[in-house]
Symmetry: C2
Subunit: 550 residues, 2 copies
Amino acid sequence: MKLSTKTLIGCSLLAPATVFAKERPNIVFFLIDDMGWMDSSVAYGEEVYPNNMRYNTPNMARLAEEGVLLTNAYACPVSTPTRTSLLTGVNAAHSHITNWTSTMRDTPSDATGGAVAMAQSGVSVDVRGRFSRPEWNLNGMSPTEGVENTFCATPLPQLLKDAGYFTIHVGKAHWASAGTPGASPYNMGYVVNVTGNVAGMPRSYMSEDNYGNTAEKWNMLAVQNMTEYYGTGLHLTEALTREALKTLDYPVRHHQPFYLYFAHYATHTPIQRDPRFVQKYLDAGMDEGQARYASMVEGVDKSLGDLMTYLREHNLDENTIIIFMTDNGGNAENKSKGGVRFMHNLPLRNGKGSCYEGGIRVPLMVKWNGRVAPGTRVNTPVICEDLFPTILEMAGVKSYEVRQSVDGKSLVDLVTKGSRLASKAKAKGEISSQKEANAFVVDESISGIDPERALIFHYPHQWKPYDLEDIDYLSAVRKGDWKLVYRMRSGTLELYNLRTDIGEQHNVASEYPQVVKSLAAELGGQLRSWQSPMPTYRDTGKRVPLPDEL
Amino acid sequence: MKLSTKTLIGCSLLAPATVFAKERPNIVFFLIDDMGWMDSSVAYGEEVYPNNMRYNTPNMARLAEEGVLLTNAYACPVSTPTRTSLLTGVNAAHSHITNWTSTMRDTPSDATGGAVAMAQSGVSVDVRGRFSRPEWNLNGMSPTEGVENTFCATPLPQLLKDAGYFTIHVGKAHWASAGTPGASPYNMGYVVNVTGNVAGMPRSYMSEDNYGNTAEKWNMLAVQNMTEYYGTGLHLTEALTREALKTLDYPVRHHQPFYLYFAHYATHTPIQRDPRFVQKYLDAGMDEGQARYASMVEGVDKSLGDLMTYLREHNLDENTIIIFMTDNGGNAENKSKGGVRFMHNLPLRNGKGSCYEGGIRVPLMVKWNGRVAPGTRVNTPVICEDLFPTILEMAGVKSYEVRQSVDGKSLVDLVTKGSRLASKAKAKGEISSQKEANAFVVDESISGIDPERALIFHYPHQWKPYDLEDIDYLSAVRKGDWKLVYRMRSGTLELYNLRTDIGEQHNVASEYPQVVKSLAAELGGQLRSWQSPMPTYRDTGKRVPLPDEL
């Protein structure tokens, strides 16, 4: 079997190699919710697809010009697993946090297993398919031992705080359920927290609704600690941005390095107009849902721009790293987004919840002045748990003790090597023009990350109280250009070549039986060694087979 | 007219005068809600009264032994005016924040004026007495200009933060209404905020109720940002204590001076059992309401003890000032506290809401190692707005610019002179025994605060949707031993000599007409110069007379 991926790095500008910051850098992790790979005017793929044309995100484009774009970046199919992987460096199949956590403790979010399902939305359902839900860490992540059904680990912000960072949480946390320590960012090592708790979405983005804090329709998703903005007309995205900038005042004045984890609730449901931006999308002919969604995307783009402006105005631009990412693929299933269901992430297949590319491939950019050559592209596949060691390395935290066994690999070499190599080539006279710099290609063998490593995705759950065949009970492994998808319901394996078929439309399993066998062994072996959650047959109580047991 | 008050300072232990801290001290402001002057086992008066015997507060007693007890300390009759006076140094009659702020903007909390009254509790009433409500700053305090019906001022924590303090807010804020900047501690200069917002009380203290975050009975008083404790069995007082101690981690590790404003929701209604302590009070024969309340008092006492233990264990004991205070008198009107209505603060008259002593006289203690002689008592009258310049002086903030005209006077000389003078006397051989130290008396002329200054109290409101003659529409002035009370409804003036009649049972106005005239002129003149809010007659629209216009 020959698997290969080229790592291409083109440098549109060469940063001087001497601008290595002597101070520890500030780090901003800017995380968007449910914003898909196609949902911006930045093309994360090799080309601009029609969906890219729908959006207006000048600040994301500016970030791409100033930083590195990772075009093969992955997250988990749903929110909590990605967020806890970022916190811990551990793959979701390994931490056993494979689904989103309910607001209330000991309440499975799986849409199966009886009346407890869908507890968050208050809807009782009784989906009685062939499978019973797996045992998983349904209370999420815990920084302390002894909390039932949690994955206990040392969280990233705790390590950063221990290293002297002023750690700030703004927005959505969603790592754990109420009644457990993981519910609070203050237990994760954050010095400051604005709004973060157990909620995975806001009850409302509208100040007119007090962001959900109205008695007649209140639930645990009402956004907390934002009373100052009630009735002010400010969309939640704007209100959170103002809060985030306020939190920087103390560390900036005291010259303390900060880590700002700014996790927007947007663009998660409910899909509500951002009044600042919606009209132009309606004028452009979008339907109401599409226009609302596009306005929410532009809202987070504006937030990113405001943050970048703040950094520049406070002379923090040079020494502040910005990492931009989203937590899973775009939601293509929810009708409130308008358009045609499951078509939102084209050319990618399906969307949020799915182990097909539409559910797991996400935007990722890193701006790091003096270390990352502006306009760089890296095509090596990377995954959310990589950010844990990456951020620690960026912060200069070289040795640390953690409870967990970290799966992620630092991306620092990968994202900085373009600058280093291009600088060397320029010094040697090998690059003399901007055109040559743009075309500069770096071979994958010096990437610091093995482009052939296996990336594991695992969703052994039913997502909704109705069957979604391209979402429920899937596992997948990506290795180089190959992608193997295991469909547990049908007990079948599919193989795709992502280089030629990014849309996963052509199952070539029958043509490459040895690749199938090899990847099934790799996926099955990993899930077995991690003792990953698997559903059981409702009638026999037996575990559903692993992909290499079919 | 001869007015006189003795300032008595007795030193049970003499602190060495050399222990003046070179570092800026940490400051903890420990504020209890609605806990009356009698509601602890510490006697704040000259003697132990029967009500003191009901409570078990060993940590407050320990604080009294280690610090100074101010036996004639005053706050406003209700919560928000005291809290905004602490923030601004301005008397409530001067800031025009004379009543508590509703959770929602532009909503008078006055129990008069039609259907908007009692908006916080969701009850619409239409009390149509002779008076219409006054114009006051019903949206509370604002740190920024241009917010309607607010008092704009520079808040204390902002000055401390500007001076390098790590400023922390834990618990109840209640300075302003939703939709205004004053709603958020982050706008007041706090670096960290846990739970503080527009709520003046918690919907519930019980984790079983998620502190009020349950759909069937939720309202804006549900406690925010405490999801980690839902269903854990922890009373809110304990949960807040754990949060407060967590927030100290960053400044302590970074050796940064901190200001911790720890404002418990307890012992405000709802009166709910603290399960750790309630049984012994039931066993002692208290009724259910009394026992619940006593258990809540012991809960905050335990919190104080935990804080003191933390400080000692982290070697912060010597350099941390603790200020202990409550925000108004004990609530004697609410039936859920058990006992006999309006008798809870005996020997003081009435309770929360009232300008009689039961509503405004509050516990106040200051522990300041090396500066305050342990076990000291100061009898000079002081008032809540004095804490603003006091804390700034403690923090070494000598010059500062503020928007407001500060009414309060620093108490630093007052509370430290006992140590200084006693030390001098000891050096001169004038004090040779502990007994002599305890009996050491300092004349008021060297107190730093004029014991004859006039302290102004003003409540031009109807508190409840039913008439309370000893609460509604009262103003008062204390000057030395004298207290003048102006009852607007009846248009009458009462005079009491607090030295001989702390219970305000013997109106001696007819015996001292010149004192009445003098104090009425002082009270009226002050209210006039401050353009303080006054009710109007509903039928004529005219302002109710000031006390010197009768």
